[in-house]
Symmetry: C2
Subunit: 142 residues, 2 copies
DNA sequence: TTAGTAATTTATAATAGTTCTAAACTAAAT
DNA sequence: ATTTAGTTTAGAACTATTATAAATTACTAA
């Protein structure tokens, strides 16, 4: 749980003015015990349901992208029409529950280190991401 | 290299009529030695450049999705705005070159088996996909 | 304080990618 | 041949995201 003043300095330190819209978004995203996985739509809905003052959709998009660019959020793409943001910015992998459309963070207890034996010549690895899709037994698999 | 008659039976066997549009698309996609990674846009461009008769964009979308549903293509999503289809439908992983926007198939020589130690209770794993993003040393990483 | 400025927010327009629609056409069955 | 159901097509519709430009706000420096 972070205080408002911590968000103010977090924003200032990354060259973003601590506007009331950004602080509100910080509160929704980062004032949590657990990792938060959300779509832009989820976030917009959450804000409009929980606060009286509305934040323009354009601002929500701008802010989420700014936070992503500053490294406060990670983007996890599931399919061409499902993209989530993740407040957990450490290196980690995901389960994706196809029944509930929920993302679940993995730690090293669930997925072992990926062994990359040979990289492309002359290139540097910028990220390694594993996505494990799961579904209940009775459903058809893809 | 497959013959036209093989595509005809392939389509018939999966309940799709072998229309000339579908056969043309089969030719472009499957009449190759190597795996083909493409976007809908790549495919549409390829067809319009290499054939005189045009195929409607709607048909290209329909056909690619039908082929995906029938298991002849796999979809690989890189980011919310970049989605590729892959003619290699075996279980495999990918490198994604951020400099060239090219996907590269991996085999077991490059990426070892992913060790999933604990799955979500009551769920079955439908797929495991690793995406390794690479870029040249001089570029900034994400 | 108070101007001045630059950044930010906002509603709306524009754009892009994809899906929908319904009429025309085609493959296959009778 | 005729019929039927599946397919293709152009263009409309839709959806998610980005751009625009005016109004507002945060900050700076006098």
């Amino acid at each position: 749980m972070l205080k408002n003043s911590e968000f103010v300095s977090k924003l200032r330190n990354s060259g973003l003015r601590p506007t009331k819209q950004r602080l509100k978004i910080c509160e929704v995203l980062f004032n949590r015990d657990k990792t938060f996985h959300f779509t832009i739509n989820d976030l917009a809905k959450n804000i409009s349901e929980n606060f009286n003052e509305k934040i323009s959709l354009a601002t929500i998009y701008n802010t989420v992208h700014a936070f992503k660019d500053k490294g406060y959020l990670k983007e996890i793409t599931i399919s061409s029409d499902k993209s989530y943001f993740d407040t957990n910015i450490t290196k980690h992998h995901h389960f994706y529950d196809e029944d509930t459309n929920l993302l679940i963070d993995c730690n090293d207890n669930e997925i072992g280190k990926v062994n990359i034996k040979n990289n492309i010549t002359g290139k540097k690895i910028s990220s390694v991401e594993v996505l494990v899709r799961v579904a209940s037994d009775t459903q058809n698999q893809s």
